[in-house]
Symmetry: C2
Subunit: 524 residues, 2 copies
């Protein structure tokens, strides 16, 4: 495993400081010393990315697609070593990482398919009307073009799918933006293995040097340098509110402001309407799974259950307690995340208004950094009194809010901030009677879900993984699915341009055979 | 004319301070005293807009379209009084304002048509695949929904088309966002007449109260209050870099960051390639028109002409001087804008490197605040030495940069910051030989134009009126054309939702008969 910083085609030695990965389950260092990048290397990576941009943006969609597919192949070619290293670094079980690897390679292939299909560029053509009155109409043709070099921050909770070759990198490369990854220090070995896969794929498909670089740092200096660099045109991040807003702040101090798409905090409220609660309390108690799976370390983990006191509530609570009791604790991603989980859960429990209604009795004492499943309860009246009850407790924790009546439930919903998701469980016709509630959910969230948990994010065309602040820094974009490519592009139009010199996407003959809005008509 | 602040259906008296509009051509006050809004009124307008949002967003596209068309009708119904007042307040000639009124009403109708056509919501549907392996696919459906109340700042240079019922208001209302306009203090009378037209249209089409409000202020307090208000979800602005960045700064100080789309400074470089310069110097000298029309007060006015010393240059300069000499000075929009023009042009002339090559000899001495057409020249070498030569001189001014060779021309182009437009004049096949230059132009601008001036912005589907910083605060959006509606919306997806309760745009039966991406296929 190459543990130095990869800048274009060269591995580079960093600033002299080294750090190791920690196995959170056993509290021991893992093999390999990683070389913290120097500021000069970070600047070098961005300059090289900018140089690569001119060449890379002009490479056709088929070749870019081949590059993305080659990355997927090279990731698979690493074999079990990747899953084992990722598991050791993250505490996540190998089967979960197997699924995550499939998601990662599928994302790369999805963007390859998107490039070949081609309509994502939103080509719009208005041809000239020389005899229009009072003024002639000129020929104007518009399409999306890449913004420029992208800085991608690896996320801790998806060491494959939201990291080095994750959705952000795949979308950026598909858009035509070279990528510089700031590796997450919690899984540098996983990052190094995937980075080498990308390097090989870039080499095999003859991509320009600098289309991809990766830098290591267990501190903040390199991330800050990358976000400040004048050649950086967009930044993506998935993580905490604090981390995301720190990057947003740095971006604001630049001479040229740039977009930072940060996916941050979300407590993903889940509403249990009276009919659902009454008719299927035991089924609803199976939410114990989404609450606790992989130590609850998903951005869409349901951290808030909201219901109305009534028939079924007691049964639901009993059933939930029974489920949670039997769920084994899991290793959390890092000692820091585990410590923070215990601190934040403890803060909640320190409040008189909060009581425990379910707790795991199966703590794995053979491993360190265990997240022990916990569900608490609070009355709606108490919840509404203090903003602190809305704080995200990242881990296997959820809070049940019990309203005394519909009005209180609505007050709770109306008090919520922006979310990635909002779910509602309803039976029969009752959903229709709650239009003001479902409207509000669509108002605060990016995705609203009926009778299902928010976890298990589908990666496709229709997904919206984003939402109003503080869920993300810009609700107008998604960080999952084909539409996530839109974060990396901007429109340019060519007026009265020479047909020969137009991009293929905009030529009248439509050589790429893509869907376009042509004189106000959608066609190929 | 009602000169008080319109908040929903009520006219309100402001904070006690009043101000008058000034006729810049004659330096005299115009009839009517305008009531500067109070902070309480500003807060009230935003709260009412937020209340109206819930009702307004649920109004169907046909009714919203009727509202927009009714605004257009009411504007026409004001008759010549509107053109006369706008001319008196802005110094712009009545025929220009006639054209601008047509553009304004056409924009409203364009968005009405867009709503009825319906595909702008970008509906994407992925239906369930229950037997997919390893996991079933759930039904997910996505579309654009409005962000919430919008604050629109009227612009001084288009008192109709970029003001109270201009493109921003039309796009916001079409998107489903209630609008609170901060009237531009240079044309409060025009604003009041148009505001009353919108009020009448809202009443006639039974729109919820608060869908539109307008506030007056000749200072900054009300604008600041509106941008800071927690119910404000998006801000649009067209004006100076200083003004735009001030709003961006205020938006950053909010608890919840919101998008501010500011269209700001642009010098709109225009390149004259050697063949064009050689073959048609006299024709190119007709650029005197776009440089000076309406005192050069267009965001797309060409402020920079870039060429290479060679055959035709002398003829071009002589012809341009001949054209400019004959162009009558024009009244500028405000005394402040005129003073600033003279100051900035004076700053340029104070530089040894800058010399005058063309100046109007026809100064209208019967009027005040005259912008006198002026073209200067600088060598590329000198231009490259100092950033100050890139400063926008808003008014009838342009600077010719003469490079000694192609390399110098490329250096000049590569040194430019973000622009709304970039134009290039080329003859025969020479354009193809300048691919690195045209690539760079597409890299720095939102619109690139061949053999034509950047002024005369087409309002349609394919237009891009935006560009990299500092041309705008977010290059990913346009402020002109149908796509400008995208500034005001965000995607929401519904997962496993009840078919009956889905928005019409997302129902399987497609009752609105709109184009959608349905299981990866574009169809109606």
């Amino acid at each position: 495993m190459e543990t130095r910083n990869l800048i274009g085609n060269s591995y580079r030695p960093g600033n002299g400081n080294k750090f190791k990965a920690v196995d959170p389950a056993h509290g021991v260092d893992l093999p390999g010393e990683f070389y913290a990048a120097s500021v000069a290397e970070a600047n070098n990576a961005m300059d090289l990315a900018d140089k690569a941009f001119t060449a890379y943006r002009n490479i056709g969609p088929k070749k870019k697609a081949a590059f993305l597919r080659s990355i997927a192949d090279e990731i698979i070619a690493i074999g079990d070593a990747l899953l084992e290293r990722a598991s050791a670094e993250s505490g996540l079980p190998v089967p979960r990482l197997q699924g995550e690897r499939a998601r990662t390679t599928n994302q790369l292939k999805m963007f390859a398919d998107l490039l070949e299909e081609g309509s994502w560029v939103e080509a719009i053509i208005d041809t000239a009307i020389p005899d229009r009155q009072p003024l002639p109409r000129l020929d104007i043709r518009k399409m999306m073009v890449p913004l420029g070099p992208a800085v991608v921050f690896g996320a801790s909770n998806f060491p494959l799918a939201f990291s080095v070759a994750g959705g952000d990198t795949a979308a950026a490369l598909a858009a035509g933006c070279p990528v510089v990854v700031k590796a997450h220090p919690a899984h540098p070995g996983t990052s190094a293995l995937v980075a080498e896969a990308i390097r090989k794929a870039a080499e095999a498909t003859a991509m320009p040097e600098g289309v991809f670089s990766i830098l290591y740092d267990d501190g903040y200096a390199i991330g800050e340098t990358l976000v400040k660099h004048p050649k950086t045109k967009i930044v993506t991040f998935t993580g905490s509110l604090k981390g995301g807003m720190a990057l947003v702040k740095i971006s604001r101090e630049r001479d040229e402001p740039i977009p930072v798409f940060a996916e941050m905090g979300s407590i993903n409220p889940l509403i249990l309407l009276p009919g659902a609660l009454k008719n299927r309390p035991a089924e609803l108690a199976k939410l114990a799974g989404p609450i606790t799976n992989n130590a609850g370390q998903f951005c869409t983990q349901p951290g808030l259950l909201i219901t109305i006191n009534g028939e079924g509530l007691a049964e639901f609570k009993t059933a939930l307690a029974g489920e949670i009791k039997e769920i084994m604790s899991s290793t959390m991603l890092t000692p820091g995340i585990c410590a923070n989980f215990n601190k934040l859960a403890g803060n909640m429990l320190a409040e008189d208004a909060v009581k425990i209604i379910a707790k795991s009795e199966k703590v794995d004492t053979t491993k360190n950094n265990q997240g022990v499943p916990l569900v608490t309860e609070i009355s709606a009246a108490e919840f509404l009194l203090d903003e602190k009850f809305k704080e995200e407790v990242f881990g296997p924790y959820s809070m049940l809010i019990v309203a005394e009546n519909r009005g209180e439930l609505e007050q709770v919903v109306n008090s919520l901030h922006g979310q990635l998701t909002a779910s509602i469980y309803a039976d029969g016709d009752e959903l229709a009677g709650y239009k003001n509630v479902t409207d509000k959910l669509a108002d605060i969230a990016g995705r609203v879900i009926l009778n299902g948990p928010p976890t298990g994010v589908e990666v496709g065309n229709a997904i919206q993984h984003g939402g109003p602040f503080p869920a993300t820094s810009d609700s107008r974009f998604t960080s999952v699915g084909t539409s996530s490519i839109k974060r990396f592009v901007r429109p340019v139009c060519w007026q009265n341009w020479s047909e020969d010199l137009l991009p293929d996407e905009l030529k009248t003959s439509n050589p790429l055979n893509i869907w376009r809005l042509f004189n106000n008509e959608w066609k190929k």
